[in-house]
Amino acid sequence: MKSILPIIVVFGFGFFMLVSFFIPLKGIQDTSQTFQNWYIGVMAFFIFIGIFNIIKINLEKIQRRLRDWQYSIILLICLLVMMAAGFIGGPEGGLFLYFYKNVQIPLGATMFSLLAFFVASAAFRAFRARSPEATLLLIAAVLVMIGRVPIGYWIWHGFPNLVEWIMTVPNTAAKRGILFGIDLGMISMGLRVLLGIERSYMGGGKE
């Protein structure tokens, strides 16, 4: 029963949602929307579980003086300050927004900026011409990079058009091929989940 009930629930709801994609009748669409709203409700509840998990793990870390436990104090203080700012002034309130704009956004932007350096280091490794495929990748990448900057046009007027062709023809063709595979894989996995063949995501394998 422990494994059968979840499979019945998954099949019932999954099959209904699949059918609702094809049937535009009001009753079906409204019910489908209700189910999706339930999910949003459940998701909102899980925010508390997430916060509880953060507090529990970091408090344990402080209590047991595990490595870098000092950072946990900072994390918990930040969590409490942001929560307090939110409760006092609301999400649009001055203090909450102030912290969000002046701490959260710059920190996120800093992490995102690292991407530029990581792209350079990853490209350096990837573009080493060790095989015919890597050589092809290297040539295509060099052409695209040159063609995307003004100096490319200055060297040869045809560079931008060549880059456009690489991006819209071979690149799009490869991408579409991958997307076809992805869609088929998703449908196949969906069917396995619906039929209860794939149940490892529920924590259970074969009966």
Binding site: F21, K26, M43, F118, A122, R125, G185
Partner: protein
């Protein structure tokens, strides 16, 4: 001073029709545009000649309007009044049109047909597998490497890091990641290797905890399970990345598995993992992120392989059967594309039109 107002009857050509593939709750109007008109008044009546009332006003440039304030089964007539600088334009009276609820969305008929064919093929191969037939599927090097990578972490006495992407469990890639996590957890539990699963969504954390706990129990190692190793970090994309990067740098896991849905954080994670010297296996169905993983990781599951991974790792005949069906479906798609290209090149539209969306 006299103001001369010129009225042009039927200056606008109006067409109305029941909005296709809906529940009978709307009527669509489309009309010819005129650069002299600055705004349009939509008029509606249930009589053909009189009682027309304004129901909406739209700006110039727009040539369609969907009237959603209608009752299914009632007949409606429409007119449009266009206001110019010193001129008023009228359309013809269009109608009657009666909104009717459609039982099936014909615009999605092609999807339904493709799905039925694919379902049939997959079920056919599953039934063959159930009968005990041995089915061959191609080797996926990245998945063969998963066990080796876990073994390496065990030998080095270091943990395994499993990153299930940044999306919640309503995303199919996260579901696929959880299925793979179950297999990875079985192996790590068997070997007694620590497994860290940092999540970006609390619901994904809850699911991952359950999956890992059940896997540990399945291989007879419930004592190995530590709920604190599967933790929620933050919903914020780059906050999550910095926390996972911190774990990599501090804990130095020997094996990093990035399986799920990733966006801009893919390369930041993979490059940090590379610098810590970990063996890295990634898999995602985000085509834009695949090149980053290919460049920075040792093995990459490309798109569909992510969805196939759990079935592949399980080696259960029925699951393998579904993979075989999926591959056969791909063959059908390839044939359809080739036939489509050839017929179009030869100037034949019939085959191409079979796949066009129906209005």
């Amino acid at each position: 001073m006299f103001l001369i107002l010129l009225i042009l009857v039927q200056g606008i050509s109006l067409d109305v029709y029941d909005t296709p593939n809906d529940d009978g709750s709307s009527i669509t109007l489309s009309w010819s545009s005129d650069t002299l008109i600055s705004s349009y008044q939509i008029l509606r009546s249930i009589f053909p000649e009189h009682d027309f009332k304004e129901i909406a006003r739209v700006e110039s440039g727009k040539t369609t309007y969907v009237d959603t304030a209608v009752k299914a089964g009632t007949k409606y007539y429409y007119r449009i009044k266009g206001a110019g600088l010193d001129t008023v334009f009228f359309s013809n009276t269009a109608g009657p049109v009666r909104p009717i609820a459609q039982i099936f969305n014909l615009g999605r008929l092609n999807i339904a047909v493709c799905m039925i064919i694919l379902f049939a093929v997959i079920l056919f191969y599953i039934s063959r597998a159930r009968k005990g037939e041995k089915l061959y599927i191609r080797k996926i090097p990245a998945l063969t490497a998963v066990e080796e990578a876990i073994g390496r972490a065990t030998e080095m006495g270091k943990p395994v890091l499993f990153v299930p992407g940044i999306m919640d469990i309503d995303n199919p890639q996260t579901i696929a990641a959880m299925s793979i996590l179950a297999r990875v957890a079985e192996k790590t539990a068997e070997y007694g290797t620590p497994l860290y699963v940092p999540t970006s969504k609390a619901m994904a954390m809850s699911m991952a905890q359950q999956v890992v706990k059940e896997s540990a129990t399945k291989v007879g190692r419930p004592d190995w399970f530590n709920a604190d190793n599967i933790r929620y970090l933050t919903d914020d994309q780059f906050g999550y990345v910095s926390a996972v990067d911190g774990m990599m740098v501090r804990e130095k896991p020997a094996t990093n598995l990035y399986l799920g849905c990733f966006y801009a954080e893919s390369l930041i994670l993979a490059e940090t993992g590379h610098y810590t010297g970990a063996i890295q296996i990634a898999g995602t169905a985000m085509p834009d992120q695949l090149p980053f993983f290919v460049a920075a990781c040792d093995y990459t599951l490309l798109g569909e392989e992510l969805y196939a991974a759990s079935a592949y790792l399980s080696q259960e005949p029925i699951q393998i059967g579904s993979l075989k069906g999926q591959d056969f479906g791909k063959l059908i798609f390839i044939l359809v594309i080739v036939i489509g290209v050839i017929t179009r090149l030869l100037g034949n539209q019939y085959f191409y039109n079979l796949f066009k969306t129906t209005r």
